[in-house]
């Protein structure tokens, strides 16, 4: 609630002509927007560029923010429309490393240092690969919860859903992800 009030104060300052105040909003939400953009464009560099475009677009239409919802919810709409437009204009490479890359990574880890635990980077790639096998809705709720650090209530607002539905979807998504990992990547991710 406090943050919501602070956001409205910052926005009022920007609308009064205090250009520099916008930097505070950018700092506050940059990682959140970045996490959302990564859903559409997995490559870091392209995603960062798109995330910046989101903030530029948000600045241009800041006067249309009425304050009746959280700023993060309003931003989410801009992320969605900006990313879809960008993908239509210039289809980014949205595929993750294929199995051959994973195999090479896996081999390099075990050849270079036998007995060593799986590399963190490799573990992250496995998890991303497993999440890629989920439905869009399941992946979205996990990313909003773990990567964008949104609460269940905020996710419900962003996805225009009820809190109960979001809770159930979160539980089911975790269950399905767990099943995928246990089927394919059990030893690496469960530290067994």
């Amino acid at each position: 609630m406090q943050q919501h009030t602070d956001d409205k104060e910052i926005i009022a300052l920007v609308l009064q002509g205090n250009h520099a105040a916008y930097a505070r909003l950018v700092d506050r939400y940059r990682n959140y927007v970045f996490a959302l953009v990564l859903r559409y464009v997995p490559q870091q560099e392209n995603a960062e560029e798109l995330a910046q475009d989101v903030f530029v677009k948000a600045y241009k239409v800041l006067a249309t923010y009425r304050g009746d919802c959280r700023f993060s919810t309003w931003l989410y709409t801009i992320v969605h429309t900006t990313c879809l437009s960008a993908l239509r204009r210039k289809p980014y490479n949205t595929t993750l490393p294929g199995d051959d890359v994973l195999t090479r990574l896996h081999e390099s880890v075990y050849h270079d240092a036998p007995g060593r635990q799986t590399d963190d980077k490799y573990r992250k790639i496995i998890l991303k690969q497993a999440m890629n096998e989920l439905t869009d809705a399941d992946a979205q709720v996990l990313e909003l919860y773990y990567m964008a650090m949104q609460s269940v209530e905020e996710i419900a607002r962003i996805t225009d859903n009820t809190t109960t539905n979001v809770k159930v979807r979160l539980y089911r998504a975790r269950g399905r992800l767990k099943e995928i990992i246990e089927t394919r990547y059990r030893a690496e991710l469960m530290n067994e």
Binding site: A23, L38, A51
Partner: protein, 192 residues
């Protein structure tokens, strides 16, 4: 199975879960997992959380499932870390918005509705004046019965007022164009 039988099994150390048919076991496990996830996420009422906490102290099955879920949740928290942008991200955004003119202030937003109201008022007043003038020109005493359609007589009266018609048409066209412009602008900007 009756309540009495369940109690007996419990006393004999037989876990209810173990003697259920497979489909029921799956539902039971799902039910336990849902409650445990709510507990791990800090959701649910105080009574629900207290009930789960109590189960975790007394029920081995619940402890086992809880351990599995906690391990998995920790793995997700570790490997699905919040996405982070580069240190130059905010500066990049501010550089891009620097040449953009100041966003619309609340005062400039009010200008359009005032203009719209002015033109709409002119149009309404003109229309009322025309109607009053037309009605005043009709000789009510000379008509024994109402004509089948008053329109031809009105049109005859209006024949000499071509200048007034032109002005009214022009005003109507301006009003329509302005409304269209506002509607299109509203459609282009994201909903707040």
């Amino acid at each position: 199975m009756t309540q009495k039988q369940m109690e007996k099994n419990k006393q004999n150390g037989v876990l209810y879960f173990d003697i259920l048919p497979k489909a029921d076991k799956m539902n039971q496990q799902q039910h336990i997992e849902d409650q445990l996830w709510a507990y791990i996420d800090g959701l649910g009422t105080d009574a629900e959380r207290a009930s789960v906490a109590n189960r975790l102290q007394t029920d081995a099955q619940w402890q086992h499932i809880y351990g599995q879920l906690m391990l998995f949740n920790d793995s997700l928290l570790q490997n699905l870390q919040p996405a982070e942008t580069s240190s130059t991200f905010t500066r990049g955004v501010m550089n891009q918005i620097a040449p953009i003119p100041a966003v619309a202030t609340p005062a400039s937003k009010k200008r359009i509705p005032v203009v719209m109201k002015g033109i709409a008022a002119f149009f309404v007043v003109s229309l009322l004046a025309l109607m009053l003038y037309t009605l005043s020109q009709i000789n009510w005493g000379s008509m024994a019965i109402l004509p089948a359609s008053p329109t031809p007589q009105l049109l005859t009266k209006l024949h000499g007022t071509s200048i007034l018609n032109t002005i009214l048409c022009a005003a109507g066209a301006i009003v329509l164009l302005l409304y269209a412009e506002i509607w299109l602008r509203h459609k282009r900007t994201p909903a707040a």
